[in-house]
């Protein structure tokens, strides 16, 4: 039974993880000579390594604990969520991976501003990146603080400060090299831990999925209905809107898009995405099985359930299961892995935010390309510190809040701002700067506004009676609006600048498909 007392094996293991990752950061810092190294690991990451790192970035503690927790609570609904979160990955491969790699250097803003005017486009992309990053960060940090508080007995504020401090060290000292290897290690540990736990669970159920489901149906309050959809998706509009946020939001996540620049060529970018898709699919399979396992082993177990609710909330299901099925040592391991997962993801987010501030906002928008590499580099370090402090402060402010909606909001913004602008710039000759900016801003404002006016915030948090915007998930509307506005404004744009931008499409087209003449992170442009 987990109390808020100190969990020694877990602390030992997470101190070991911190020691290993800090030494990697020190090693990475010694290898870091250029901005190419800082933002893109010098372009020397292999396809498989990058696949692991990308999967690591995506397999957050939120998805591991959240999806197993959702399965524990209502059963099949967790599967619905998992399927949606995975479905965007093939699209990432088909539509984005290789073209992104061929067109950009450090951030997706490089790609969007390839033929469009850099200052407004980079300002927009940086905004889209920072909003998504901050929302995601707050969600991760608040979850981290609560988790660490329960697992390791640390006070909430201390936990948040520790996470923030480590995040700053990883990013400012080790850049993309450090964050990549931290992600890879964490991904391996997470997949290993989840696999072992799944095997143990299935072993105890006679290696039979049939038995797993049968026992889960017997143990769960909902009975046999646990194997079919519950109340997650009630009306078709919400269903599709949630799907849109999950599928297209994935393709627009800035910290994931950044990783495509760490590999040397398009073939490696494709391999990365395939490997990531495979690992994430496997991971979700495990997570769902673990969720049902938690139903079997925890539901009627007085050690973990008091008055019908799971101790620490549904998100603790996988953690409790580790202890119930495999003892305290494994509990320690899973706790340490959960902590590692949080750290790795916030580091990736912080790097993405820092690069948007330094490479996009500072270098191109504020200094208009006149800043030296050294100056941009310094700004990126200060930005990561700033983001760390901001994350800690906001994490403390939001303590105890239900932050699930923040992650969904981040996905909705990514789907409504980053995705439309990126896809249109790569595939549609007619996109102009004015159209991109108008569409992006439309997506940003509409997704944020509709979320605030919707049931999750307006009613649940702000305690009004009726929501102004009737649907839980705004993504369908905000993304459609973004595409529509971008198209209309672009078509109506008759300026000479717009004509030049349309004419430049052919050049971009060839480069995006062939990689001819681009500057990779390991060889300069020619």
């Amino acid at each position: 039974m987990i109390s808020s007392s100190v969990n020694v094996p877990a602390i030992v293991m997470f101190l070991a993880f911190i020691a290993v990752t800090l030494s990697i950061t020190w090693w990475a810092a010694s290898r870091m000579r250029t901005t190419d190294d800082f933002y893109a690991a010098g372009g020397r990451i292999s396809g498989t390594q990058n696949g692991l790192a990308i999967a690591g970035d995506f397999m957050s503690a939120g998805s591991f604990l959240g999806i197993s927790g959702l399965v524990y609570a209502t059963g099949y609904d967790g599967l619905i969520y998992a399927v949606g979160a995975l479905a965007g990955w093939p699209l990432m491969l088909f539509l984005v991976a290789e073209r992104l790699r061929n067109l950009g250097r450090y951030t997706f803003a490089d790609v969007v501003s390839y033929r469009l005017s850099p200052v407004p486009i980079r300002a927009l992309s940086a905004c889209g990146t920072l909003v998504v990053v901050l929302l995601y960060l707050i969600g991760q940090v608040v979850g981290a603080g609560a988790l660490i508080q329960v697992l390791f007995g640390l006070p909430y504020e201390v936990a948040v400060i520790v996470v923030g401090a480590l995040m700053v060290v990883y990013v400012s000292c080790g850049g993309m090299i450090a964050t990549t290897w931290v992600q890879i290690i964490k991904a391996v540990l997470l997949l290993l831990g989840a696999t072992v736990l799944t095997v143990i669970i299935l072993y105890r159920l006679g290696m039979s999925m049939e038995t797993l489901f049968r026992e889960a149906a017997a143990a769960h309050a909902r009975g046999i209905a646990v194997l079919a959809p519950g109340g997650l998706v009630t009306d078709p509009v919400s269903a599709i809107s949630l799907g849109v946020a999950l599928v297209f939001g994935t393709v627009g996540l800035p910290h994931i898009l950044m990783r495509f620049f760490t590999v040397p060529d398009a073939a490696a970018a494709r391999k990365s995405t395939f490997v990531a898709t495979l690992l994430i699919a496997y991971f979700y399979l495990l997570t769902v099985v673990l969720g049902f396992g938690a139903v079997v082993f925890l539901s009627n177990n007085p050690d973990y359930v008091s008055e019908g609710t799971l101790r620490g909330g549904n998100n603790m299901a996988a953690i409790h299961l580790a202890q119930a099925a495999a003892g305290d040592l494994f509990l320690g391991f899973i706790s340490a892995v959960a902590f590692a997962t949080i750290l790795a993801v916030v580091a990736g987010l912080a790097l993405s935010g820092a690069s948007a501030i330094s490479h996009d906002l500072y270098a191109q928008v504020i200094r208009r390309g006149t800043a030296s590499e050294k100056q941009v580099f310094t700004i990126s370090r200060w930005s990561s510190l700033g983001l760390g402090i901001l994350a800690v402060v906001l994490g403390i402010v939001f303590e105890g809040q239900n932050v699930a909606f923040l992650i969904l909001l981040a996905a909705s913004v990514a789907a409504s701002v980053n995705f439309p602008v990126l896809i249109l710039s790569m595939y549609w000759r007619g996109l102009t700067t004015a159209g991109a900016v108008a569409g992006g801003l439309t997506g940003l404002i509409s997704s944020l506004t509709c979320m605030v006016l919707g049931p999750m915030v307006w009613v649940d948090v702000l305690k009004h009676g009726e929501p102004v915007f009737p649907y839980q998930y705004p993504a369908l509307f905000s993304m459609t609006a973004a595409f529509a506005v971008a198209a209309v404004v672009s078509i109506l744009d008759g300026s000479t600048r717009a004509d030049a931008e349309r004419a430049a499409f052919d050049r971009q087209y060839v480069r995006s498909l062939t990689g001819l003449g681009i500057g990779t992170a390991s060889s300069p442009p020619h």
Partner: protein, 110 residues
């Protein structure tokens, strides 16, 4: 646009290759999107269909099989494209570019 790029974008073989690639991408993307959103619409409109067990002596529902199937579909589709693009399309593209480079140097007589 450099001369080489100019030549490439107008080359017939290049365009044919891009058409093949675009076709494949279109089919695979559509498959994934249609599969997923059909699933979501079933969940929204006819969830009771997903609750039906596969047979008399099992509790496993159609919904579970469908969802697990989608989890498998994603990496399968991804793998198909990756192997096609990396092992077939990329070498073809490299050959086209090499040929164009040789031809263009051949026409630049000193």
């Amino acid at each position: 646009m450099s001369r080489l790029e100019h030549l490439v974008v107008q080359d017939h073989a290049f365009r044919a290759l891009q058409d093949r690639k675009r076709h494949l991408i279109g089919v695979l993307s559509l498959t994934m999107v249609v599969a997923y959103f059909s699933f979501i619409l079933i969940v929204a409109f006819a969830p009771e269909q997903l609750a039906i067990p596969l047979g008399d002596n099992t509790v496993v529902t159609r919904g579970i099989v469908l969802a697990f199937g989608l989890l498998l579909l994603a990496p399968i589709l991804a793998g198909m494209y990756m192997w096609c693009a990396n092992d077939t399309f990329d070498p073809m593209l490299a050959a086209i570019i090499t040929r164009i480079e040789i031809e263009s140097h051949g026409t630049e007589q000193p």
